[in-house]
């Protein structure tokens, strides 16, 4: 165990001192944040940041109602009273930006329309939002008709048609919907978190593969093995690259979390993140890493050079990414047979299971337990096999092992 930690420490130290590793470490998150930032700047133009100025020529005394509406729906409008005449509007608007003039008078009752003059660049999305003001105007009309309070309330309550599917029945109150929303976030945030960890450590884990075959190529394996057992060397590598993966994750979040907080103003990220589900997600991520690390380290030991990797080795490297081919079908129906089967297959289960748990609001604990049990057994089995392959393969200089040879080592 001590030797394992020594090897692990060395792998971590060696890589952190390596310029290309360090550059890679920071480059990916920086690029992501930069592109995210640019995207936000470009996309942010239309709605969020700018408010439109609307001058209201109010003859029906509805201004207070309008303001209340703006407040209630958090509309991006700034309202102001004006006494300007309709004839002068055209001239005013010619040089104005994001400005509109709204005339509220008896035409609403006589003709059923209200003129809303806008400047040239006035965003269309806002024009459509303006329709909401009709309610306020309608209210004035009702009052003028002399309806009682009750009648008024009855008439002014809008009727909407709500589509309800069977599975939503019984939980359709607004409060519950809000809770639903929150529960979803409580799954998505930790799910994404665990997904990022899983991906980062898998990518870093692929370096194990390089490390093992490089050690063969540099012929240092024999020297190391004169001090430690093959098992210790292998475990040391797996632990070492796990730590490197976590370093990558840390750097990732050091850039990512402030960015997310900035991009989505009031998202209570940490409240959503630190929920019990996170532990399960992290367990899946770690198991996934161990499984793929075992595959990488075993296969890496059979090759003297990545560039001469045979088809067989190439295929094995692709295994962790097979899951992503199925993301689409699983996303469209997370409860399908395909999705269930994929969460039992050890090569796909870490990614697919994680993904499904985020998608599904009802978890089948039986399914999760079976899936985890299969995964844990596979990790154990693949570690054993990788150990056997590693022991022989790492000393086999100058040639790549054939699948036949690997099969023989595994049975030894």
């Amino acid at each position: 165990m001590r030797n394992t930690m020594k090897v692990a420490k060395w792998e971590v130290k060696r890589n952190l001192k390596n310029k290309s590793f360090v550059i890679g470490l920071f480059l990916t998150p920086i690029l992501m944040v930069v592109f995210g930032f640019l995207g936000n700047l470009m996309g942010g133009d239309t709605s969020d940041n700018e408010t439109a100025k609307i001058y209201v020529h109010d003859e029906l005394n509805t201004f207070a109602n309008l303001e209340a509406t703006v407040e209630q729906y958090k509309l991006p409008f700034e309202l102001e009273r004006t006494n300007i005449q309709e004839a002068d509007v055209e001239k005013k608007l010619k040089n104005a930006e994001n400005t509109a003039y709204f005339f509220i008078d008896n035409r609403a009752f006589n003709e059923g329309t209200l003129p809303f003059y806008t400047s040239e660049d006035f965003p269309e999305s806002i024009s459509s939002q303006v329709q909401i003001f009709t309610e306020a105007v309608k209210l004035v009309q009702m009052q003028n008709l002399g309806l009682t309070e009750d009648q008024l309330a009855a008439v002014s309550t809008p009727i909407t048609i709500q589509a309800l599917s069977v599975d939503e029945l019984g939980e359709n109150s607004e409060k519950e919907q809000a809770m639903d929303q929150e529960q979803l976030m409580q799954r998505i945030v930790p799910g994404v978190f665990a997904g990022v960890i899983l991906l980062s450590i898998i990518f870093t884990g692929m370096m194990i593969f390089q490390s093992a075959s490089q050690e063969k190529k540099d012929k240092i394996a024999e020297i190391i093995l004169s001090s430690v057992t093959p098992g210790e060397l292998m475990q040391g590598k797996i632990v070492g690259y796990f730590v490197l993966g976590l370093v990558q994750v840390l750097v990732f979040f050091a850039f990512g979390i402030p960015f997310i907080l900035w991009a989505m103003n009031d998202l209570p990220l940490f409240e959503y993140l630190f929920v019990p589900e996170l532990l399960l997600f992290l367990l899946i991520a770690v198991l996934g890493y161990l499984l793929f690390a075992a595959i990488f380290v075993g296969i890496g030991a059979t090759m003297s050079d990545i560039s001469t990797a045979g088809n067989f080795q190439g295929l094995v490297i692709m295994i962790p990414f097979v899951s992503f081919f199925f993301i689409g079908p699983v996303a469209s129906d997370p409860t399908s047979i395909l999705a269930q089967v994929l969460s039992y297959v050890p090569f796909t289960s870490p990614v697919i299971l994680l993904f499904r748990l985020v998608m599904l609001d009802q978890w089948s604990w039986v399914e999760i337990s079976v899936s985890l049990a299969i995964l844990i057994m596979s990790v154990w089995l693949f570690m054993k096999l990788a150990g056997k392959i590693f022991k022989v393969g790492i000393l086999l200089y100058g040639k790549n092992a054939t699948p036949g040879e690997i099969w023989k080592w595994m049975r030894a």
Partner: protein, 313 residues
């Protein structure tokens, strides 16, 4: 001298091929023991079994009489050379010493001393890939002795080194032996073996061929031979007494002599009319014994047995 490492009845097969047959020898404290043999004879396999990198099918390897091989007391320089490329010299030296449980501070001091000794002063912060092949090899040698091993296994330590570095290395190896380390050295350079080793073990096709002290081996196998340059009739040469075997090539003739001749007396028996442009009288070298064994001719051994037989007859 104390026996430090003892190998008994080692057997090993790869697939269906047996590569080691009943190999037994020991290495004692303070001696330099050579393990010799042509390529593919089984030297490296033997060494890997001692190092615990491979496990023998049969046989026993003991260290100070214990079955457990203490890896941190063994230094190993494998034949296949290489160290991490993009790593600083001092970092790799310290890492390898750490794997041997050697204190880091002491390792650093010793590393700097040895780097200086091998003309690598100031190279400790240079990356391995920037060193020349010879320099890298010296670093690797340092890595194998940094932790003060009791047993040092050197597989072809001199290959690829210039004569100056070879001398430095030889001196250091002798030094280590004088200080009590047991050294197992594998080499193809017979002159080096003759010069340095106390005992030798020669292996061919996985089997022991010769085992003993250098003097014993020489006494036993290295008869005198006489090389004469000059054109002479073969008939005439064949009449010279005490000759085991004659190798004739154009103008030069090599006469392999019987074991117990006295050179001065024998020389007097050469015919007066023999054409001699040049005459060299020396013993059969280890090099020749090696080639003889490696080419599977076993002429020397066979002839010697015949010679012994002749004498007894």
């Amino acid at each position: 001298m104390d026996v430090l490492l003892s190998v008994e009845g080692l057997e090993k097969s790869f697939k269906d091929k047996k590569v080691l047959h009943n190999i037994s020898f020991d290495v004692r404290k303070g001696e330099i023991m050579a393990i010799l043999g042509p390529n593919g004879a089984g030297k490296s396999t033997t060494i890997r079994n001692i190092m615990g990198i491979m496990y023998p099918d049969e046989g026993k390897i003991t260290f100070h009489g214990y079955n457990e091989i203490p890896r941190n007391k063994i230094g190993y320089l494998p034949e296949e050379r290489g160290l991490y490329k993009n790593v600083k010299v001092i970092d790799i030296l310290l890492y390898l010493a750490d794997l041997k449980d050697y204190p880091q501070k002491k390792a650093k001091e010793r590393a700097l001393t040895y780097l200086k000794k091998f003309d690598l002063e100031g190279k400790e912060h240079v990356k391995m890939e920037e060193l020349s092949k010879g320099m890298a090899q010296k670093v690797q040698f340092i890595s194998s002795i940094l932790h003060e091993p009791e047993l040092l296994i050197l597989d072809e330590p001199f290959s690829g080194l210039d004569p100056l570095s070879q001398e430095l290395l030889k001196e250091e190896i002798r030094n280590l032996a004088r200080n009590g380390a047991a050294i197992l050295l594998s080499s193809h350079q017979m002159n080096v073996v003759e010069e340095m080793c106390d005992r030798l073990f020669m292996i061919q096709q996985g089997q022991k061929v010769i085992y003993g002290t250098l003097d014993d081996v020489k006494m036993k196998y290295a008869n005198f031979k006489c090389t004469i340059r000059g054109k002479n009739d073969l008939e005439k040469i064949e009449q010279i007494p005490d000759v085991q075997r004659i190798e004739s090539k154009e103008d030069s003739t090599v006469l392999y002599l019987h074991k117990d001749i006295t050179p001065a007396k024998w020389l007097k028996k050469l015919p007066d009319d023999m054409v001699i442009n040049e005459l060299v009288m020396d013993r059969i070298s280890l090099h020749e014994i090696f080639i003889d064994v490696a080419t599977n001719k076993n002429l020397l051994l066979a002839n010697e047995q015949m010679g012994e037989g002749d004498e007894h007859a």
